[in-house]
Amino acid sequence: MAKRVGIEVSLAVSHAVQLARAEAIAAYPITPQTHIVEHLSSLVANGDLEAEFINVESEHSAISACIGTSAAGARTYTATSSQGLALMHEILFIASAMRFPIVMTVANRALSGPLSIWNDHSDIMAARDIGWIQVFVQNGQEAFDHSIMAFKIAEHRRVLLPMIVNLDGFILSHVVEALEFADQDTVDRFLPPYSPWHQLDPKKPVTMGAFGMPEVFAEFKMKHQVTLMNSYDQIMKVWQEWGQLTGRAYHPVEHYKTDGAKILLLTMGCLSEVAEIAVDELRAAGQPVGLLKLRLWRPFPFAALREAVYGAELVIVCDRALSVGGAGGPVLSEVRSVLYPVVPHPKVLGYVIGLGGRDVPPEAFKEIFFQAQAEAEQEPSEEFYMYGVRG
């Protein structure tokens, strides 16, 4: 039976990984991911999780060791943040190209410099093109649920891709929330033991990681592209199945008060909860506003987003990362590009907010709403807007 507990979100994620019966964990400490791996190592140390915990000497080795454990045939998990994710960078592409269903939590944090341990999405946005499945969560319950579902999605025979669950560092990872736990029986029925499709076994020797000449490299990439796009169906199936078990339904683009909305805010991660407050207040004041929460980042939910903006005149994308010298935030670029073929397509304006842990209260979203509304009525004065920057 499911039980309701008050727990720090990082610990809830550790328990989700425990319930998923992860067999191998390789991790290196980095703030604000530490509570997840600390708790997992104590679960392993106490025999509450039958797993190997590899205390690697860097994140580069963490993801490399994860490829090793996955290639051996073990269900594999890791977690990191920020510089750690950046240090993993080159290996992330290889993990997905080699089709190892590793599950990773990224407790999102700013990338240096200057050094900042606080939350934004610049770490994961720099790893946008790594070929992993990527989702964002907005609260502890979602973090718990998606940490379990990720294994089922990643390990599916037609998917076999690594998957990242993004949760905001500190403002989500370190808060205590009341959430509903799943019991072991339910999770065991939902998630059968991992039976690897490809592994290194002397009884059936294979070569993994052959290099590709120019004649085949693009074919390798095409296979990866098609597989990642096709994983969408499996993601939907797993979310539905979990929904039936728990009553909690998840969608690639979540809607909040979008009925009749002419102006849509678009957020990712746990600032969505703050944006909801702003939407409530704006709606109460008669403004035709709604909120879209982009949950599934890779594969990008093209159809779901296009459908979600139907009838809207303005979409305000709130990015938590900056493409310095580029087109604002990565989410803005993609949303604009995805909506461009929609006829008639809404105006899309972008705001970069909440960098490096800068607080974003509901008032900020309200202010952004009014500013954007005004900007949209004329030729926008900027390519995108840096919100709340002094000077």
């Binding site: 693009a218 074919e219 390798f220 296979k223």
Partner: protein
């Protein structure tokens, strides 16, 4: 025999680019790189097998009677076998055009 690279479609790339046939490089004949190849004077050969141990290609094979010869498909003509032969019964012979 594996087919030419340019004939692979993306659908034919195995999951993760995995290769399931151990030692399939045997299909690739490196023998045409060589400009010389070893020849054994069998009457002098003591059949010790040192030539077989020093070949980086594993191209030297044991024949009936315990003598050795070379698989010309894989011999690159480096000449280590001739250099290391304890008796000196291997000579390197230049390839004919």
């Amino acid at each position: 025999m594996t087919k030419p690279l340019e004939d692979f479609t993306w659908q034919e790339i195995e999951l993760g680019g995995i290769l399931r046939e151990p030692g399939s490089a045997r299909d690739y004949k490196v023998g045409d790189w060589k400009s010389q190849h070893p020849v054994w004077t069998k009457s002098h050969c003591i059949r010790c097998g040192v030539c077989w141990t020093v070949c980086p290609e594993g191209a030297i094979i044991e024949e009936e009677g315990g003598y050795f010869d070379v698989n010309l498909d894989y011999c690159k003509g480096c000449g280590i076998c001739a250099r290391e032969c304890v008796i000196g019964c291997i000579s390197m012979v230049t390839e004919e055009e």
